[in-house]
Subunit: 351 residues, 4 copies
Amino acid sequence: MMTVRVGVIGCGYWGPNLVRNFARTEGTSLSKICDSRFERAAKVAAQYGVRSVTEDAKAVIDSPDVDLVVIATPSLTHYELAREALAAGKHVLVMKPLATSVAHAEELVALAERKGVLLAVDHTFVYTGAVRKIKELVDAGQVGSIYYIDSVRINLGLFQSDVNVVWDLAPHDISIIDYLLDGREPESVSTIGARHVDSPTENIAYLSLRYGDQLLAHVHVNWLAPAKVRRMIVGGSKKMIIYDDVEPSEKILVYDKGVKISKNGDPGENPYQLLVEYRTGDMHAPRLDTREALALEAEQVVQCIRKGGRPVADGQAGLRVVRVLEAAEQSLARGEPVLLGQGGQGKGAIP
Amino acid sequence: MMTVRVGVIGCGYWGPNLVRNFARTEGTSLSKICDSRFERAAKVAAQYGVRSVTEDAKAVIDSPDVDLVVIATPSLTHYELAREALAAGKHVLVMKPLATSVAHAEELVALAERKGVLLAVDHTFVYTGAVRKIKELVDAGQVGSIYYIDSVRINLGLFQSDVNVVWDLAPHDISIIDYLLDGREPESVSTIGARHVDSPTENIAYLSLRYGDQLLAHVHVNWLAPAKVRRMIVGGSKKMIIYDDVEPSEKILVYDKGVKISKNGDPGENPYQLLVEYRTGDMHAPRLDTREALALEAEQVVQCIRKGGRPVADGQAGLRVVRVLEAAEQSLARGEPVLLGQGGQGKGAIP
Amino acid sequence: MMTVRVGVIGCGYWGPNLVRNFARTEGTSLSKICDSRFERAAKVAAQYGVRSVTEDAKAVIDSPDVDLVVIATPSLTHYELAREALAAGKHVLVMKPLATSVAHAEELVALAERKGVLLAVDHTFVYTGAVRKIKELVDAGQVGSIYYIDSVRINLGLFQSDVNVVWDLAPHDISIIDYLLDGREPESVSTIGARHVDSPTENIAYLSLRYGDQLLAHVHVNWLAPAKVRRMIVGGSKKMIIYDDVEPSEKILVYDKGVKISKNGDPGENPYQLLVEYRTGDMHAPRLDTREALALEAEQVVQCIRKGGRPVADGQAGLRVVRVLEAAEQSLARGEPVLLGQGGQGKGAIP
Amino acid sequence: MMTVRVGVIGCGYWGPNLVRNFARTEGTSLSKICDSRFERAAKVAAQYGVRSVTEDAKAVIDSPDVDLVVIATPSLTHYELAREALAAGKHVLVMKPLATSVAHAEELVALAERKGVLLAVDHTFVYTGAVRKIKELVDAGQVGSIYYIDSVRINLGLFQSDVNVVWDLAPHDISIIDYLLDGREPESVSTIGARHVDSPTENIAYLSLRYGDQLLAHVHVNWLAPAKVRRMIVGGSKKMIIYDDVEPSEKILVYDKGVKISKNGDPGENPYQLLVEYRTGDMHAPRLDTREALALEAEQVVQCIRKGGRPVADGQAGLRVVRVLEAAEQSLARGEPVLLGQGGQGKGAIP
């Protein structure tokens, strides 16, 4: 089978992690490393024995020695670089978010389809052992119907100037939610946020996603919190799950807890109390696969290129996440909920 | 000085706690205990040596032996009982919420004023050592400007049928926020919620309160969560506080953490990174007064009756909390943010 | 069936809890309440409608209206009161420790046998849902062979002057260990301790119990620690358990973790590394019975009196715990391990 | 000033960390990397641009291009390698423990002195921000007299075959205790331990160190525990400190808690209760220096070589730690406490 030759653009915070993982992925060879600061690229390249180093992204995109272009640059540049790479017939893996507008994301998805190449998005969390375990429990019917997903991702974080906290942090939460809900898209998004300490963009935000049928997702992202919290609650009809990513070992706690309300009963002496049965059973922390998420991601992307198939986080997933982000941004600006389109995948959703 | 003779209506979950605390408050005597189920009242009365027991609330309200009527009945009955007691010239302490509509709450406040009697609301949390300590730090300027308050109050809770989770749990959070912000009222409230497991009312809700000047408060209340969380974050310009009420001892953690953003700097090599200075200093858990909140509350109410003055949680505070709750309810129904009035205290706020 | 008429001696810290629980135990009636301070006894008696109050323990012991004497007085008085009660033909439940010397404990056990009455010891913890669950797991073979038990019971505690921290706190740990090990007695006990802040007795101590076959138990008790820790680890060949009694809900965590060492393997490249297989499976927090331990204890004691049988914490268990405590005390004094006798129950163990 | 040329022997688990830190220490150059497996050394050397790689430790020790020999090999080889390096006139930094017997450790200390070269031991923890902060508080008198130090270092750990858990893990605890107590040596050590799962050496052990004056230190080390615990309590007359090394940020909690016992008081009503005053003040988590411990250690070692002076963890410290370890080992074998010598530093203590 062919070897997938990988070129990586961007050696800032995240790029070197991608390089490290592709370096050890079977069936790949690293052929080019690029960063606008040459020394940075050179240092990373040296560590993994890559000979070709450049500060010109174009050189990667146009290189005949590159099959897969990995884009690990700031968000605002994703669209242009990905578009050029796809146009040049390359497979592309781009860091989250896929793009900074739905229009751009849709264009990338369409272009990849036209060119018959792979477009993948680095939604790292969907490759973690923790999230895959939750998905496995959901798919096996053990969680029952999902009632709500509540996600908190806060800490004293790296203030960004190109994007606000929604575009910076929420892609993680939204991509996980999208994955757990099998790509189901919310009907509306409402966001509230604020800017403090002279930040040019929002540093705190709350996103509420409505899906119909009382299904609700809520995301709290915050760059200005005193403690690091990474906690998601998945409330289901059969089980409730707490996913605490800060925990070193037991990241997933599955609670056999629930409620059953009987309406027809005779409330009897206390008319203000429902007839509610509370179920409190065991709690369970399943063992998690501890392999690095990026390693699995790199493997899957390479597999799809070599053998066909679509990665979990393909362009469509990237687009769906961007739809929510753009709606969240609009809601922030308008101060009211924003409806998404009829929820069709790839249909161009924002009204 | 006169002895304040106390009559208590309602011996369900909370009433006995009020009885217990008034029983040991100096300058009071318990004169009447009432519950619609006589035996319940009788049992409580026996424990504290109260001779007069009744199942008729009217008998308490009209009794010449009662100066202060304490109302610990379901929310929907607060207004009527309080109105009658005030009309009868009694001082009144009513459990939260003061009433279930702004109109009712305003009427009670006005009536108390007209009658020259005290109207107090049992906002228990503002009397806790933890909340008083936060308030003390805020008042002393140690927290700086408050940027945001984030409150989470979730657990597998007692589903109520007369009120939804907003009216049941959020009064705690809103009364604390009201206290910390010195009665400042939000400009708008938006709420999102959902009903699950055949609950007739919302069992999960998120409230966002906007105050202008980028000040934001957010409350997550939930009867259907796998773990008990009672955590409030107060983000200030000088300090950030985490108040974890589930912690047995160190409930208040004060973090000397913050951020300073310099706009004019030359961002240099990375144009996407702001020039941000992060401050990470000591963390501090001040010793808290461990006296029972209800004991302090009972003392303060009795003091105000005997010597004049207003308790921290007076009718105005109760009204402000009801304004937010009513707006939250409306937002829930309309699916959009609801503006409050010009924020004047007691001015009748909902448009 | 006969009603067991209960007389309680001692209304200090713990006595009222025993009264409260016997008051609601089927088949019992509280007939006499005693405390050296009459008002204290009177107050407790009033709460439970007991008519007969006394400050004279003798009056309880000799009363024809008392079948079961419950002794909740300071440790040093247990022996004398229990002896008199047993001699008077009463059943006896005595707070831990059964007595403050092995000789005394043996005498009580023998006396009870001679008189054909029940002698029970209030080893409260063995009646908790948490400890019973651990025992259930051990008995079902799920834990495998027990390798070690490590118990930490520390906090800023109530300094006692009549007994040191070993006699005050360690009976809890030792009685749990005794229960989990089915009454197996250690071969030797070594204790190290110290006295601080002018305490007349040890306020910190470490007990090591050797059982042969590499089975080890260790107890850290401490009145002078900054935080409250109540944590026991049970290390078994199949499972390892952490029992954290400070946790409000998930007190028992069962870890499917372990190690297998293969000796014959070829250590190969690293001769200093064993061929060790580590097993890290799921973690599990079983639902616990949340009934109050004292309620179960009172029920069991009453059942045994009415129908025969022995309670979990009978005189023999009390004696075995005292044997360890006396040996621990001797080790503390001598500065070396103290051997226990041949481990026969009731054989008079200290050499 | 001269550049310190560093040769590193051993590229297993820990060696590469030492290489990485010396690589960035000012005033040093890495001149030789050695490992018995050549490729392992070669890989590390490549990463830091070191040209000279060898599998022969002798080649490092005898090299005229090496001033400082860093020894990161298994414990049993420390003595021989360090002795040869010192004999060759090199400065030496050796991983803990300095040697596996007091006789060997003493010989190394004496040899270093005779040769006029530096002998340092990699007691990493004494260079951490956390331990340095505790030491600072102790030295400033804020902790008062130290009453006891309790250290727990347990997890499902790497079973070793050359040394037992005492020699593997306890050097960390003992070196910290030695540092906090300014090199004061215990009068006696008693150890209890056990071997499980066919381990050829003890995998669990409890060490008790007596210092006279009721000062006590206790260490629990364990390779077979279900959870990772790294917690030290320092109980002082003025403050009590909990150092939790597993905590990501607030590792040091300083409690203003304590007890004062008045003996002459009239115990009054309860003769069994001392007149004890409990002090419960604020808790405080000081900001810690987050620089990597090994970086500081490398810097200090290099400074001492260049400018004179002794590092915190010099040969004497290493010797004192070995004395405790050897006594602990003897106590384990004999089943009784082992007295150390008169406590003189370097005097050859084991009787």
